[in-house]
Symmetry: C2
Subunit: 175 residues, 2 copies
């Protein structure tokens, strides 16, 4: 269905790993309370190639989603609480502010949404998707209860009734 880069794919997985590693707010350690994991540890936990993990971590740090610490006891930690980090923000940090289509590439003329009858379908779709992604946080992703509410069957059932799509409903899952 959609496609986003492998970097983003890994990024979310890594962030979830970092969130999981948080021991429910450790005994407050001074300011920099967040415990950290280094690139190697994260690569092992996620079972992903270290160079890629490292690349992703750097990108997330540049985007302000993570904080890094150099040196012997260095590593990465979340810059915010998982409850405050939306999926929308995570993806934006990794993919850049792009959108579903290339509407606003180039001219700023697209501010005139009203006059742009051609592209308007995509404006609507983009907003709907953004909204739903802004409604999930990193905390939700690591919360078993939240996941349970969204069992495949429940999800598919909803889709089914709403979609009446051309058959392929079974597929609406992740590739």
């Amino acid at each position: 269905m959609f496609r986003l880069s492998r970097v983003t794919d890994y990024g979310i997985v890594i962030l979830a790993e970092l969130a999981r590693h948080r021991p429910d707010d450790e005994p407050a350690e001074l300011m920099s309370g967040a415990p950290s994991l280094n690139a190697r540890e994260l690569a092992e936990r996620a079972d992903l190639p270290l160079p890629m993990v490292s690349k992703v971590l750097k990108a997330l740090t540049r985007a302000g989603v993570l904080e890094s610490q150099r040196g012997t006891k260095g590593g990465y930690s979340l810059a915010r609480d998982p409850e405050e980090l939306t999926v929308s923000a995570m993806i934006a940090a990794l993919e850049g502010p792009l959108a579903l289509t290339q509407c606003s590439d180039g001219e700023a003329a697209c501010d005139l949404e009203a006059t742009c009858s051609v592209k308007s379908p995509w404006l609507i779709i983009n907003r709907v998707v953004q909204n739903s992604l802004a409604s999930i946080t990193l905390a939700d992703l690591t919360n078993p209860g939240f996941a349970a509410q969204h069992t495949p069957l429940a999800g598919l059932a909803q889709l089914q009734t709403l979609a009446d799509a051309p058959a392929k409903t079974t597929s609406d899952e992740v590739r």
Copy 2:
């Protein structure tokens, strides 16, 4: 943010064009009531290159979203009412049953979602996105009123309140 192929981009625009062309259910013409436009006409209306439009139309027809008529007075028409065609279905028809990440490539082991702690974040995200896309129909895309309801600010406000019910408030915002 996300990215989907140009074909899908064009496809939605073309479908919106076809939906707009429907004169509120013309005087019922026998069975095949839907008026049709041919590839050339659609290319002109959407201001897109004819070969691409043609390619997209063929794909949509194969997927069952459109019906085609050959010959001199041939053309394409919607196979269903715009109210019954979800964005989710349109995208699936054009992009195939792929999803955000490549989780289920290869092994079917991913049925064991519970055991797959690594990928589960993406399962959740995919479902949320799917649900929101299944909540919009082609009719919504061509309804000026619907678009108006979705100013960026309004959308965000709603999300916030509905936050942990990722499902589908048909309204939301994006990009």
